[in-house]
């Protein structure tokens, strides 16, 4: 059994025929070659596979590709470019908010949604917001710093 789906990803329209059991994370990486989205635990604990679906951060390993039919998705490839990082990516670079880089796509996509929905006025709020994303390198300090800096910048530009 396969089902036809149409998905807009990073502004580009994709059509495919997929098995119902295909995970969105595997669809992005294996079918479309969009390997920026990382796959860690594959059961919703580590947050590495987080993408934005219709404006909300979502675990792509807990989403069937068939359920993305008609959706608009942003993956880490849709944020900035190496030449022109977006504001949050820029802060990750400035604050050294990554080491090995495995968790970074999920941290960025989660960070984008946190910046949209929460005041992030204290480090506690930032840490609570990041509690669903595991990093085994940084001890989180510089990731928190990067999001703190991005939140301060956001507050300057959107009063």
């Amino acid at each position: 059994m396969t089902i036809d789906i149409t998905v807009t990803i990073n502004g580009r329209l994709y059509r495919a025929s997929v098995e119902p059991r295909l995970l969105l994370s595997d669809f992005l990486r294996d079918t479309l070659g969009l390997t920026g989205t990382h796959v860690g635990c594959e059961h919703g604990v580590c947050g590495a596979c987080t993408v934005i679906i219709d404006g909300d951060s979502v675990r792509s390993c807990l989403t069937l590709a068939v359920r993305a039919d008609g959706a608009t998705i942003t993956t880490v490839e849709g944020l900035g470019t190496p030449e022109q990082l977006n504001a949050l990516q820029h802060q990750f670079r400035e604050c050294h908010g990554l080491q090995c880089g495995f968790c970074t796509p999920g941290m960025l996509m989660t960070g984008m949604d946190l910046l949209k929905k929460y005041p992030l006025a204290t480090d506690d709020q930032i840490r609570e917001g990041l509690s669903g994303n595991l990093c085994r390198c940084t001890g989180y300090q510089n990731i928190v710093a990067a999001i703190r800096a991005a939140a301060a910048l956001r507050n300057e530009t959107t009063p």
Partner: protein, 289 residues
């Protein structure tokens, strides 16, 4: 690709969804937000032959006031409850609990109907349903029925639903006369399942409690409403926190597991009860909300 193969349908009405479950003859599984079912599928801990996706059925996502109750559609997402002004005003304990429900990316997809039907004993929404004495409304081949929350949860991950019944909405009575409340939870990591959790709401008159509501979770196979603890609070005044903690400790008989021992859990729920009492009393006395 980790789940075992299954057939998939996305019906556009509840009637059609129930028929699909009947046709699957006990081997069908309902998917709402999928945030509990997908890990089970990925681990192949469950291998349904048919997944019935509810998300194409219209009008199952809503939060509305109905007289002295708040009705919530089964497909309403946790994030919708978290950010709802109506929930904050009418069901403040639920509003306080929602940030503790997993993480933002999970709350963006997980639904109230899914969480109740999954019936994890350490999840917030099943406890809130018991706490508020909610009515859970389900549809099956024989039509619709109303189930009291306390009858709904049978054991860990088990409800009284038949395999071809689907929760479509939940009604929460508002505790209109209550002015003090608290929600306290401890988990290993913020957003993880609770080690222990308590919800408390009180009505006071002339400086004493005249009505109380108490529910706990994480300390038994199902969430529990503690009527003995509610009784013990009647007539209590602001100095009753320690006594309330002792009563709550005496009401539960938790098990040890890989996370903590039974003794730790019992001590923890008592400590949370004391904290909750103090917070609820402050609120009832007009202190900081």
């Amino acid at each position: 690709m980790k789940p075992a193969a299954f057939a998939y349908c996305a019906p556009t009405s509840l009637d059609e969804a129930v028929r699909a479950l009947q046709a699957a003859d006990g081997d069908g599984k309902v998917m709402a937000g999928g945030q509990s079912l997908m890990p089970l599928l990925n681990f192949r801990m469950t291998r349904p032959t048919m997944v019935v996706d509810l998300t194409k059925i219209p009008d199952l996502s809503f939060i509305e006031q109905r007289g002295d109750r708040v009705a919530i559609g089964a497909l309403t997402r946790h994030a919708d409850l978290e950010f709802s002004a109506l929930i904050a005003e009418r069901l403040p304990v639920m509003s306080a609990a929602m940030p503790h429900v997993a993480h933002l990316a999970i709350r963006n997809r997980g639904t109230i109907g899914g969480s109740l039907s999954h019936a994890d004993p350490a999840a917030e929404l099943p406890m809130l349903a018991v706490f508020y004495s909610a009515t859970i409304r389900a549809q099956g081949p024989a039509g619709r029925r109303d189930i009291a929350a306390e009858d709904f949860f049978v054991s860990a991950l088990a409800t009284c639903l038949d395999p071809d019944e689907i929760v479509f909405e939940i009604e929460f009575p508002v505790l209109e006369t209550h002015t003090g409340w608290a929600f306290e939870e401890v988990s290993r990591r913020f957003g993880d399942f609770a080690l222990a959790c308590i919800a408390l709401s009180i009505e006071t008159r002339d400086g004493a409690i005249v009505d109380a509501r108490v529910a706990v979770m994480g300390v038994a196979d199902t969430p529990l409403r503690l009527r003995d603890a509610e009784q013990a609070l009647l007539g209590a005044r602001g100095d009753a926190a320690a006594a309330f903690g002792a009563v709550v400790r005496g009401c539960v008989a938790p098990n040890s597991d890989i996370h903590v021992s039974a003794d730790y859990r019992r001590a923890l729920i008592g400590a949370l009860a004391e904290k909750a009492f103090t917070r609820a009393w402050q609120r009832a006395a007009g202190g900081p909300k």
